[in-house]
């Protein structure tokens, strides 16, 4: 399945885009997606940390991703 990943902040610079599409096996977890993204974009591993959001909620490693989900990378937040 193809998943579109939204980028914010520093991740837009790492992607060079506001979103990217990646191919993932069906029922892939957030952990698998994170590993996949770190392979394609080694700069992600240099961040203090990054999380994934699925349908605008923080995902944990076991969260299963389906093709209809809205997925985003959340680099370290710095609001306020």
């Amino acid at each position: 399945m193809t998943i579109s990943i939204r980028a914010f902040g520093v991740v837009k610079e790492i992607f060079g885009a506001i979103s990217v599409n990646v191919d993932l096996p069906e029922n892939a977890t957030a952990k698998i997606l994170k590993g996949h993204l770190q392979e394609i974009y080694p700069a992600l591993s240099k961040l203090t940390s990054f999380a994934l959001a699925v349908n605008s909620e923080y995902a944990n490693d076991e969260t299963v991703i389906s093709s209809k989900d809205e997925v985003a990378i959340i680099p370290p937040v710095s609001g306020g």
């Binding site: 914010f8 902040g9 520093v10 605008s56 959340i74 680099p75 937040v77 710095s78 609001g79 306020g80």
Partner: protein
């Protein structure tokens, strides 16, 4: 651009327009409340000795309002306060501008202080908003790198 969520006892807003402190305080004010604590963030002129030219704030709005709503709901439940307001700016801000206002009303002041501090501390940890500090010789996304 404005994204809002509100309810009888909380008011959440992410906006590219100026924030207004007086109207925030008026909103949380209620006859049964004896104290209001307000936190007003302001853009500092320098960071670690380096002159700041401006800040740029970006938000994942749909998620940010949900996280801000959770903060308000937890603050109300945990500290027994009356009303919680959280407003955050996006876009380009100059030194002295206001990126964030948090206002909390409560019957007693201790609860208002505790809930307000909980809200700003948690916002800075969980709400997907990002700040880019622009200096005279470059720019950084705050906290992005160790």
């Amino acid at each position: 651009m404005v994204v809002k969520r509100h309810c009888v006892n909380y008011d959440i807003k992410i906006s590219s327009d100026n924030l207004n402190v007086a109207s925030c305080i008026e909103w949380v004010s209620a006859p049964g409340c004896g104290g209001i604590d307000v936190f007003v963030g302001t853009v500092r002129s320098e960071t670690k000795g380096k002159k700041v030219v401006r800040l740029e704030f970006e938000a994942y709005e749909a998620m940010a309002v949900k996280e801000m709503e959770k903060i308000a709901q937890i603050a109300i439940a945990k500290f027994s306060v009356h009303k919680v307001l959280i407003h955050h700016r996006t876009g380009v801000l100059d030194v002295g501008d206001i990126p964030v206002i948090i206002a909390v009303s409560a019957a007693h002041r201790g609860a208002a202080f505790d809930a307000c501090r909980y809200a700003i501390d948690t916002l800075k940890e969980t709400v997907p908003i990002w700040k880019r500090e622009v200096f005279e010789d470059g720019a950084v996304w705050v906290a992005a790198h160790p």
